[in-house]
Amino acid sequence: MSSFRVPGRGRIDHQSPVEFSFDGKKITGVKGDTIASALLANGIHLMGRSFKYHRPRGPVSAGSEEPNALMGTRRGPGRFEPNTRATVQEIWHGLEATSQNRYPSLEFDIGAVNDRAYMLFSAGFYYKTFMWPKSFWDKVYEPFIRAAAGLGVSPTETDPDHYASRYLHTDVLVIGAGPAGLASALASARAGLRVTLVDENTEAGGTLLSEPQAVIDGSQAWDWVEKAVAELKSLGARVMTRTTAIGYYHQNMVALCEKLTDHLPAPAANMPRERMWRVRAGQVILAQGALEKPLVFDGNDRPGVMLAGSAQTYLNRYGVRVGNSAVIVTSHDSAWYAAFDLADAGTKIQAIVDTRANPDSTLLEGAKSRSIRVLAGYTATRTEGRLRVKSVRVNPVSNGKVGAPETLTCDCLLMSGGWTPSLHLFSHTKGSLAWDDEKQTFLPDRKTEDCEIAGAGRGLWGIGAAINDGAEMGALVARHLGRDAVAATYDVASDRPGTGISHKELPTDLNPGKARAFVDYQNDVTAKDLRLAVREGMHSIEHVKRYTTNGMATDQGKMSNINGLNIAADALGKPQPKVGLTTFRPPYTPTTFGAFVGYHKGDHFDVTRKTPIDSWAEENGAVFEPVSMWRRAWYFPKDGEDMDAAVSRECRATRASLGMFDASTLGKIEVVGPDAVEFMNRMYTNPWTKLAPGRTRYGLLLGDDGFIRDDGVIGRLSDDRFHVTTTTGGAARVLNMMEDYLQTEWPDLDVWLTSTTEQWATIALNGPNARKLLEPLVEGLDISADAFPHMSIAECKVAGLPARLFRVSFTGELGFEVNVPAAHGRELWEILWEAGQQYDICPYGTETMHVLRAEKGYIIVGQDTDGTVTPYDAGISWAIGKSKPDFVGKRGLERPDLVAKGRKQLVGLLSRDGKTKLEEGAQIVLDPNQPIPMKMVGHVTSSYHSDAAGRPIAFGLVEGGHDKMGDTIYIPMPEGVIEAEVTGTVFYDPEGARLKL
């Protein structure tokens, strides 16, 4: 294989060979190559198969807009990335690249049969093909779609890399480091502003890297770039390469994804692979330039068919001739220069085929001086060549008539359909676009953010125009930011400004219905598909896009947008601005999930709240469960115990003697102030005025809609101080709701609210021996049954620690809850644990807590209620202070639907066989023999095996449940229908005698 490398050309290091593999074959490139440039240097154009038709494809571009040359790249276990753009990925020694979407090999691919059957895969084929029969969905269509969906293969191993993220504030953010961007950055930096210049490429320079002939103020282009970057750095500007601005968000926030290791042969283990920057900029300059458009004609996708500007880049930046024998097909001046550069480097230019009848005379002279044949006023109508283009058929066009064909042989075909300003980031801001009739493209119009667009991004063509516009814009934003700034002017020699025209499909003498003239390469959308979509009734460009999938691939139509628009507009018989563009959305280029995730993975995915006693539970073998953001001890299994056995033992031990439970996660809010009692009267359903200091009460909180929001025991410490407890998950919500009412409805009330959830560690002691354990440890308080009855609160010392002691029970046993400052939580727990040994004290977890409370009929808000349950529904209307003039939810409770008959009400459920445990969430019906779909009248909310009841117990919400006591309801399950009796909700000690011990 002959080398296509041109000695001495390009910005690569010819003396530093780099070996990598492509489909297992060893390939040698040089330092500075991309995968694509290295393969092209070895004469390889075939790099992939297309998505739908499995057509052989090669790189069509030299940048991030590449739709074809997508590969899997791998760096050892777990480090595999599908759809890596070979035109962007730098090579390093040992890189493994594999082609995609082919079997068994890239050269011979069975899937290419799709290409023969292309008539089946026309626009909307998903919608048409997979409609019927319905039974085909599971077995035929879905597996087919899944197998065909997407390019490449998802990685299956965990990504071992880590990803970083940072914030950055800057006065001016310049996106794109081509001539316009560099000049903008210089102007702003010289005005004394903090400037950040970013570019997705490996180095700054943009177009200047591909046009080394240009001379700026007497300096050769590359020398000028070097000096510009050096000056920027000396002025303190941050110049970031391999950094893509992926999204432009509100108030000048731009997300940058910086690639840090993908180009390195052996990155340090502690290096993040990528870093996501969230930049807030005073002013943004978009200097992203323009992207070249393909021409649309039959066979414009064969390997070897490439954009002319990209061929120029491969030559001038990478020192690679993309072929020995080239034909140029163009509607724009720029491709002529690509032809000249390649001719000068030794590639035979078979012809320059220009669709325009009268190309510029200086171009014609350039061609003549190189003995290049010029075919002006021609069209291209077909290419040949299976794995590489080998010829192109061209025809003269006069007066709209396509003349006799001629076939030109070649090994590469370089095309240019003109240039499209890169509008993606501007469009992210919802800035509006205006159609420029002369340039036949959309340009930025009305801005919504503090930004300016410079250079080719606003339709200015040529280095001189771009660089001077950049300088103007840099100075302009500096003035916006209050600096005196005058734009420098640059004198550019050997510039190549030019013009061109824009096309729909090129005219042809062949049957256009058979043409494989691609508009969107990545999604295999042809001109014919777009016309078909319009014929089939898609009249909005958004519908055309979705019906054909044009522009919906990962390149988001960077190349296909305007061609697609031109064809759709023609088919619709409307001018382009009346048709409009589809919406661009972030990210600009495909971005790894890792970059978005950043540090938020593994243990850092979410906050895990732990109580002060958590470490003891861990040391003592607890199994944990997540409860809202908390990690809570679920149960404490002894050797060989499963959960059921452990929970039964914990329940028995607590009811027989003594259990201890870490209740620190209970939400706690201190309500303080002269109007504290009035505030409590208005917030909670219960009356609080007569609750004496030292006493507690079960508090019920509703929303103003009348539905239960939260509950908890509330203690009054003094006239003006309440210790409110909430559910574990409800604490923040309840405080927010209290603040809302206090600040906005009752600002006249003199009350302060403080979250104290994490200030107190709370240990619940339950069981007949609870007082015996506690009594000797308590100082300053008589906790005998008479002096400190059920539902009392007091401040005292427990084991020498300052404490708030509740006498309260969520188990039905004699119970206390000891609150001590959080820092002393584990200390107290260990003291109680030691002292409790004489009573066989048993630590228990949340599961036992749930069982014990259910045996007593205590509800859990959020489990036995679901946001549509009233106190009446839940059977706790006794908690409502009916004589109060108002409280949150009082008026809501009178709403017609809330007082209607047939509401779902909370009841007990006992399986008739006495053995079957119901499943939480299972649906309840009244007649199990009714036809499906059955009328569901409720569901099981809580269900446990009860050691105390000697049988399973359950709660359920059942329509009209309170009137169904003793009735049988049915729970249809896959194994059969379960019969259950509707009962009250208290299954143990209904008199409450054990509470009063």
């Binding site: 509100h250 103003d704 927010n736 603040e739 600002p747």
Partner: protein, 101 residues
């Protein structure tokens, strides 16, 4: 991410510090002293404007001073026209639009 000015802190801070709190100027009817019809109560609970354009709404500086405040935000552009204290009068839209021109 938006930047939001807390009228109490008098600082412009990242959206992360704030939580949205629904439509503004929805007063809770005085059910303690007046008969409130079902319709009135329904409107208070559920009926909201769903504006396309400038929207009077509430935010809370949840991870800052904790205060609820009012704002006018354009739901199309996501731009804040103003933020103001709960106790401040509802600003006239015409004044705001004039100022933002």
């Amino acid at each position: 991410m938006l930047l939001i000015r807390c009228p109490y802190c008098q600082q412009t801070l990242p959206e992360l510090e704030f939580t949205y709190a629904g439509q503004a100027h929805v007063a809770r009817p005085d059910a303690a002293n007046k008969q409130i019809s079902d319709e009135e109560w329904r409107d208070f609970l559920f009926i909201r404007t769903n504006v396309k354009g400038p929207h009077y709404e509430r935010w809370r500086h949840a991870h800052g001073c904790g205060r609820f405040f009012n704002a006018v935000r354009d739901t199309v552009s996501d731009r804040f026209l103003i933020t103001y204290k709960v106790e401040d009068p509802r600003p006239e839209l015409s004044d705001l639009l004039e100022k933002s021109e």
